[in-house]
Point group: C2
Chain length 491, copies 2
């Protein structure tokens, strides 16, 4: 992988001076075209060995193009706000919106490689991390991003020389730290681990470009040229193929499914309800103040058919909590800023810190429900969403999140009754809109989508809880009780 980057590539100054002006003009033009049509973001990852000119190259790119529309981010130590959320949160924060170029320095590959070199992880863990990255980049590409990954390489001999030269010059001495020398000692190991990592994460849609870092002229022109070609190709409409959707299972022949099998007849008397409500709210309150909960977070997904009583259930949950510790995030149509990002971005930005509770009133599952049924996105888009969502939730769980998902549902007859009641009650009439009636007409399509969703996204880490809510009292108690059990099990 690195052989070609140890050949001593170089470009004479005269050639550079001839090629540079044309290249930068073309890059600038491509950048403005990107800015103009705002149809995709460009993500440039920068990695590699120390002293190979990563920083200078990024500076050159900013000089060649319009720096106002380039977002450069370097990832050093995590801030405490970052440490309290899933590992990928800081990268989600730094993603460029459509039309912009984001240059990410030492992004998601760095930690897994560094940790493996330091010996704090083993090969299996490295491989797992690389698989995670492949899935993440696949998702970004499917969401429209153009990803270019540059790895700056130096042979051991050249790196040593270069570090020595930098250290000798008073003007560049600051750039060589003790850590750099410490790391140099690990050159062989670093080379082996990163070769492995690059191999695992170099894909057709997000390839690594290994760039020999010895000669600045060569380095700059190579990176600039590669970026330009990719930009031009993409602007001309060449998109990498999206993930192909696999087929979904057909509905069972006997017409039974997980929803029809629920017990919609169950009831709970008001007196028993009040007693249990107090009991479970008290329990949940105690659990949310448990010492161990400070290292956890609770993420509640509340989905369900219209008029099933999601709002009332949420209020019974928040009633058990201290308002300082929870946030309810109602999900409506995405804002302009959210539309310029991958669809999961708007959920990442609302993730709770440790010790907190976030209730999503509707959620990322909109992708495989309303967006699927109403055809707001393509089949490919919602088909790939299943595993993207599983991935997302896995990351939440790994970071200490307790992910609990409720599908609150009523029978079709009960929904009709509630719609009519809402229309009659002046105070509730704002709750019933023509859209609700429209959705109701597509009952079967939604049911199919729900069954597929449950089949593909209910798992041990983040199971779906199906709540029959013809009787509101028993539904609310079931939700509270489930939350108590889930939190208790996690502490």
């Amino acid at each position: 992988m690195f052989e070609s980057a140890e050949l001593g590539h170089s470009i004479p100054d005269r050639e550079y001076d001839r090629k540079e002006p044309k290249l930068r003009e073309a890059l600038l033009k491509a950048q403005y075209e990107l800015l103009e049509n705002k149809s995709f973001p460009v993500i440039v990852l920068i990695g590699g060995v120390d002293g190979a000119g990563k920083g200078e190259t990024v500076n050159i790119l900013n000089e060649w193009m319009d720096p106002r529309f380039i977002h450069t981010h370097a990832f050093g130590e995590m801030s405490d706000e970052e440490r309290e959320r899933p590992r990928m949160w800081r990268y989600w924060r730094a993603l460029p919106p459509k039309g912009r170029i984001g240059i990410l320095f030492g992004a998601w590959h760095t930690d897994p490689i560094v940790n493996r070199v330091a010996g704090t992880t083993d090969n299996a863990q490295l491989e797992l991390a690389m698989e995670e990255i492949v899935r993440f980049e696949r998702m970004l590409v499917d969401e429209g991003a153009l990803i270019l990954k540059f790895w700056f390489h130096l042979s051991k001999k050249v790196q040593k020389k270069r570090l020595q030269a930098l250290a000798a010059d008073p003007k560049t001495r600051w750039r060589v730290t003790d850590t750099d020398w410490e790391r140099f000692k690990l050159y062989n190991k670093f080379r082996k681990v990163s070769e492995n990592a690059l191999r695992e994460t170099s894909t057709g849609y997000a390839p690594w470009f290994v760039v020999e870092g010895t000669d600045p002229n060569y380095r700059y022109l190579t990176v600039g040229r590669t970026l330009l070609d990719a930009l031009k190709k993409r602007l001309a409409g060449n998109k990498p193929a999206m993930s192909r959707p696999a087929a979904l299972a057909e509905p069972a022949l006997d017409g039974r499914n997980v929803l029809s099998s629920l017990d919609y007849e169950r009831t709970l008397a008001r007196k028993a309800y009040n007693r249990k409500l107090e009991k479970y709210q008290g329990e949940l309150n105690l659990l949310s103040r448990h010492k161990k909960f400070r290292n956890k977070s609770l993420i509640i997904v509340m989905e369900g058919v219209d008029a099933a009583g999601k709002g009332g259930s949420i209020r019974r949950v928040t009633g058990a909590l201290d308002a300082r510790h929870y946030q309810v995030t109602p999900i409506a149509a995405p804002t302009e800023e959210e539309r310029a990002q991958p669809y999961l971005w708007r959920f990442w930005r609302h993730l709770p810190r440790r010790g907190r509770v976030t209730i999503f009133d509707r959620s990322w599952y909109g992708r495989v429900l309303v967006e699927r049924v109403e055809k707001f996105c393509s089949e490919q888009d919602w088909m790939r969403a299943y595993h993207e969502i599983n991935d997302f939730e896995e990351q939440l769980v790994e970071a200490g999140g307790i992910v609990t998902k409720f599908w609150v549902t009523v029978t079709k007859e009960e929904q009709l009754r509630r719609f009519r009641e809402r229309e009659k009650t002046p105070f509730k009439s704002f709750k019933i809109t023509p859209e609700d009636w429209r959705n109701r007409k597509k009952w079967n399509d939604y049911e199919r989508a729900v069954c597929d969703m449950i089949e593909r996204t209910s798992n041990e880490l983040a199971p779906w809880v199906l709540v029959a809510a013809n009787d509101k009292f028993s539904a609310r108690i079931e939700i509270l009780k489930t939350l108590c059990e889930r939190v208790e099990a996690a502490l």
Copy 2:
């Protein structure tokens, strides 16, 4: 101030049970009306003595209304991301958008009061902090916010009893910490300081409501009722009067002004330019890597007439810096999320951490330039912007920011020449739009606005630097040189 809140107010349960359902129904209705017309945000501040039921009251408000549209924030210790920015940054982050209710626990009043009680500040400092708060709240109200501030009070005797009672009950024991008892010892001092603070910050447009915290029934109904009344009044169209604009000075009778007095004839030869460019870029680079700069941040405002060469100047500045340490923020029309907030919000969100540089390509001064001239906002709005901006920049400077503002300008004839040149050069034609020609027709209006802006916002902390840019070389060098001087002086 606190006398009326020591009378032992209470409301019998029977009365409470009769009034509560009506109140919550009305509150919920008002909340939905607010959500519907999205014309203003509601900011509820919660402060007061420990054990007076602040938390319970906020929980009740969340129970009575729809918690999905209430944002509750508690401000504890600062995160490191917050510590590296001006004091008010964390509150700006937490402001609710239009249509929503934000409940802020221990917000901007708390630290100044606590610090004064602890004796780390003196009376003058407390007073200064309170004046800052008054101006901040004035700005929020002028921007349309409805602000309600509740102070929960207990007499010393009652507080002691209440803390004891809470501590005795195993279910509530967690709520009384050692800090609470430590603070109780300071009751008299706390009372005195907070009375002072409340007096200073209780204004007609953002009044304090002191609520006796002894009896829950009384407490809940009082807060609910007050909130409801204020909401209803405001929804009915009663807005507090905006700050009255003072008159601006008329242009001088002899037609001379700071812009016409600049030397537009100066030039710099290319050779001298190249030498100086290298010199000052090198200097700026060294300064930006200076140890002391890690506790500073550099905020560059780049404003100027069209075609004056702002973009080129920015590129010469960024050329001196490491791309990992700066961010260029081009300011265009505000996004949907930004329009739902006070106009300064979108600049607060881009403030750099310490050790970083942010270049605003156009800035908050749009308010008193394009928005004034094009009448995008009312005279009252842009008139009050002068002191709001001064306030904002003062906060930046206090937090270690080096604020440097450039007005880059050319003569009217030179602008015409450049417009024509841009039209002729294919590669530059994207830089000239019909809007540029329209703006040019309003040259005099803009000039007037610029002179007013300089007169009212150029000050020692954040002076305007007027750059005659008929000759691009000398303009760029002046900008770089100024930056070096300003940073050097600040280190």
